[in-house]
């Protein structure tokens, strides 16, 4: 099930870590987008709402938006206010641009229209990044550096994954310039200093724009799950930059649990999620030897996915917290790896799922989950 354009725009916008997101919506949309963001970062409160009420629906929400902008500018010490107009203002026809133009504030203000019914979460993510792309500035190129594009601040394991990817790239002699969208405004502005954009699943339109405006090439890569996935990821970037680094990994941790891996070989599993899902399926199939019976994307029909899983031999499910329902129905364990995860936290930034270390952590999580599940006692 897809969150729609508003959610995508919110996730991309709130990834500018010193910006404040002003949602021009009724209370529920603001709550929904915020609640998933705060599971593993409970004091990162940088979003607010214009509280569109019946009065705004009847008379328009422009006054409320103006008032909210003025208040936000007074209350927050932020260089950037990002206004996201959702479904209701889109239908009633609020002139968001006119309101933004009518106020003079200390903070810079950018706005975007992101009615949920007008597109997918990925559309919202892409358009939000395009909207703020105008803030980027021509910068002196940093040799052998890349931007990583496609992250959101509420991705499960995002901090640990980024840290691991940075480590791996650093070993390859590659510097990470900016992580989008998980960076400060200044880092975002300086993104054109990179030599290469690496896009992971989403953010391609921004890359196109940066290529056009700054001549920055880009590389589309799968999310680096698993040993082979990581090697390919690091190798491809290294090749593109002309470094020619051949990454190495340590298979020793897997040796310690090789008998469990033997027993899990051929396990039928199903995977659902956003762009992370395919890369995860590749790891499970290609490296752990699982049999991926059903692979589904968020934009596919969710009930069809459920039906397919029911009709399969799936014994482990990989997805978001929302897949716990079908996992319970089928009495199988769920490994959470994809947004939204709201019933597990990930705060330790040295236990990634991405990269070589991530392959170990992920394998450990799978085995521990299976062994402690008590499936034979249910």
């Amino acid at each position: 099930m897809d969150g729609g354009k508003f959610f995508g725009a919110f996730r991309a916008s709130s990834g500018i870590t010193d910006a404040v997101v002003l949602n021009h919506v009724p209370v529920g949309c603001n709550w929904g987008a915020g609640i998933f963001k705060t599971t593993s970062n409970q004091f990162d409160m940088r979003h607010a709402c214009t509280v569109m009420h019946e009065r705004e629906i009847v008379f328009g929400g422009e006054d409320a938006l103006r008032e909210a902008l003025i208040r936000a500018d007074e209350l927050y010490d932020t260089p950037l206010l990002l206004v996201i107009a959702g479904d209701a203002p889109s239908i009633i026809g609020d002139d968001v641009e006119a309101v933004v133009d009518s106020v003079t504030l200390d903070s810079e203000v950018m706005w975007m229209e992101a009615a949920g019914f007008k597109g997918s979460a990925m559309d919202g993510y892409e358009e939000a990044l395009l909207c703020i792309a105008g803030l980027m500035k021509e910068s002196e190129t940093i040799q052998d550096s890349v931007n990583l594009i496609g992250f959101s601040p509420d991705d499960f394991k995002v901090d640990a994954d980024v840290k691991e990817i940075r480590r791996l790239l650093s070993d390859a002699g590659v510097e990470v310039n900016t992580v989008i969208s998980k960076c400060s405004l200044e880092e975002f502005r300086r993104a054109p200093a990179a030599e290469l954009n690496v896009v992971l699943g989403q953010g391609t339109k921004l890359c196109e724009q940066m290529k056009k405006e700054f001549g920055l090439p880009y590389l589309k890569m799968d999310y680096p799950y698993g040993l082979d996935g990581t090697s390919h990821f690091v190798g491809a970037i290294s090749d593109e930059l002309g470094i020619g680094h051949e990454p190495e990994f340590d298979i020793e941790p897997f040796k310690r649990i090789y008998l469990y891996l033997h027993e899990l070989y051929g396990t039928p599993v199903s995977v659902i999620g956003d762009f992370h899902a395919e890369a995860m399926a590749n790891f499970l199939d290609g490296e752990l030897g699982f049999n991926v019976e059903v692979l589904s994307g968020n934009e596919d029909d969710y009930f069809e996915f459920e039906e397919d899983v029911r009709n399969s031999n799936t014994t482990i499910l990989f997805g978001s917290s929302f897949e716990q329902g079908i996992a319970e129905t089928l009495d199988i364990p769920l490994i959470r790896f994809c947004y939204p995860v709201f019933d597990n936290v990930s705060v330790y930034d040295c236990a990634p799922y991405a990269g070589y270390r991530g392959a170990v952590c992920l394998t450990e999580a799978i085995i521990n989950t299976v062994m402690s599940y008590g499936g034979m006692n249910k």
């Binding site: 508003f6 209370v27 529920g28 929904g32 998933f36 927050y76 079908i326």
Partner: protein, 530 residues
């Protein structure tokens, strides 16, 4: 004792009511606690309240009439964070539907949902988008010919209560503390739950022959800690009175809802509107469970009032008296232990505070020297300074009139709490404040934030269980825990909006929400203040 056995059976996994409370606190509270905190920065959609209420009905499927994004996040309803609503079908309205209307999609989706789930009830929940487009949901439902019931619940997210409504209600509660007959007989505008309750009365219930001494109880579902054992006790006491419980609303089956009008009396725990509608349509009387039904005398009054409504005056008196007397006898043992020491109790200012204090002072007979009342929480709920002043004044007057004999300390600082702690043997806190008092190995405070839920029950045994628990803790010396330094006591907290961290962004977001929400109230100035 028979009661104890019943409670044991009712409690989860064969444990005691106390264990049930702790289990609920851990397994529900770990999710629920965060939503309370997030209410500092916003509120959830009316739609989520409706999704929750429908999910309580066995055999019902909620159907969102709106864009996919609404169904995406409403699956995690704040009222039931521990159990998302996994099956939440949606009409997935897109731009085309916004222009041409979504009625055809709704018709098709209702049919599809029936084919897929074969539910007894489909509850159609419109969203902001379908509300704005003006889809005729009742019209679509009327045209359908399905072998299941289809319900329309007005759930558009932009139609919610204003900030001022809670402020006014809180003030009116305060005005009625000394004279419960002045209790406010009106409702706050619904937040989704009420809309479902009204719709099931209006559209689903069927005329029944009213059976004598049969009651319905409005539940607030498993959201309430200790719900199962409390319900068991209510049924037990009613049973001793010759009264049967027909069902709990809306936590029941679709068929049971249809037969709900067979009850002679509805026990209302939240809003009145649905009960008034039932009275209007089917003639069922109702009784609202007010704050003054807390405590041993309050519980006794509750059952007497029920008996009176059911024309059981005199008949049920004996049963109620026996239950209360048993509890009083058991409590005496614990009161002797409490009498040895002096206490300070830290509590929060809310509509139930005076009656909670009565339980501590009169039912448990805790020798309380200081009652420390934190009124700051009310500010976090956007209650005005004027209302807080009225509450403080009326609370003090009520305590004086009831001659509870303790000194009230409002919003004590850490230093003041430290001084108070030196003058008493034990400090109890019924909010999760001990961590801040433990900062730097400060004041030893016993946390009774979970066990206090035993005191709010519609039965006598909860207070007894609490007394037993407190006695055990006192005997093991667990009230003095000031030698440790828990991690959560090492953070800096906002002094007013605890447990919000002392963080500029959190403060700004809270103030932003408070101001913007305040603007939606009638009679506010430009700053959103009354």
């Amino acid at each position: 004792m028979q009661m104890s056995k019943q409670l044991q059976q009712a409690a989860h996994n064969g444990g005691s009511p106390l264990r049930e409370i702790f289990r609920d606190r851990v397994f529900n509270g770990i999710h629920q606690g965060t939503t309370w905190q997030f209410h500092r920065y916003g509120i959830n959609c009316k739609l989520s309240g409706s999704v929750y209420a429908v999910s309580e009905i066995e055999g019902a499927v909620p159907l969102i009439h709106g864009p996919a994004g609404c169904a995406f996040h409403q699956r995690l309803t704040p009222r039931k964070m521990y159990a998302p609503i996994y099956n939440l079908p949606c009409t997935n309205l897109d731009e085309n539907d916004v222009i041409y209307g979504g009625e055809d999609k709704l018709r098709d989706k209702i049919n599809e949902v029936y084919r897929k789930f074969h539910p007894q009830l489909i509850a159609v929940l419109p969203t902001c988008v379908s509300g704005l487009v003006g889809d005729d949901v009742p019209g679509v439902i009327t045209e359908l010919d399905l072998p299941c019931d289809v319900l329309h619940v007005p759930s558009e997210g932009f139609a919610h209560r204003s900030r001022e409504s809670l402020d006014v209600l809180m003030r009116d509660f305060a005005e009625s503390w000394k004279d419960p007959s002045r209790s406010p007989a009106y409702d706050l505008r619904g937040c989704g739950h009420e809309e479902v309750m009204f719709s099931i009365v209006d559209q689903l219930m069927e005329e029944q022959e009213i059976a004598e001494n049969l009651v319905n109880i409005e539940s607030f579902g498993r959201f309430t800690y200790g719900f199962r054992s409390e319900l068991a006790e209510i049924k037990h006491i009613f049973g001793e009175m010759g009264v049967s419980v027909n069902l709990t609303l809306p936590t029941c089956t679709v068929d049971e809802i249809k037969r709900a009008p067979a009850a002679e009396l509805n026990i209302v725990t939240r809003n009145l509107r649905w009960a008034e509608r039932m009275k209007e349509r089917f003639g069922n009387d109702y009784l609202r469970k007010w704050f003054f039904y807390f405590g041993l005398d309050g519980v006794e009054k509750f059952y007497h009032d029920c008996a009176s409504k059911l024309d059981l005056n005199g008949v049920a008196d004996g049963a109620i008296r026996i239950e209360k007397t048993q509890s009083l006898q058991e409590l005496e043992r614990y009161q002797k232990v409490f009498a040895r020491d002096d206490f300070a109790v830290s509590t929060q200012g809310f509509f139930f505070t005076p009656y909670l204090a009565r339980i501590y002072a009169l039912d448990l007979k805790l020798p309380i020297k200081y009652l420390c009342v934190d009124m700051q929480l009310l500010k976090a709920l956007n209650i005005s300074e004027e209302t807080i002043e009225v509450m403080e004044k009326n609370m003090q007057e009520a305590f004086d009139e009831w001659d509870l004999g303790f000194e009230v300390v409002t919003n004590p600082t850490l230093g003041e709490m430290s001084e108070i702690a030196k003058k008493v043997d034990h400090v109890l806190s019924d909010r999760i404040t001990p961590p801040i008092y433990e900062k730097g190995g400060g004041v030893g405070v016993m946390d009774i934030s979970a066990t206090r839920y035993l005191l709010f029950r519609t039965g006598f045994s909860g207070i007894v269980e609490f007394g037993k628990y407190l006695t055990r803790e006192l005997n093991t010396g667990k009230t003095h825990q000031n030698s440790r330094e828990p991690i959560i006591s090492r953070f800096d907290y906002d002094t007013i909006y605890y447990p919000m961290l002392d963080d500029d962004r959190c403060s700004a977001s809270r103030e932003m929400w408070s101001g913007m929400w305040g603007m939606k109230s009638v009679g506010c100035d430009d700053n959103g203040r009354r």
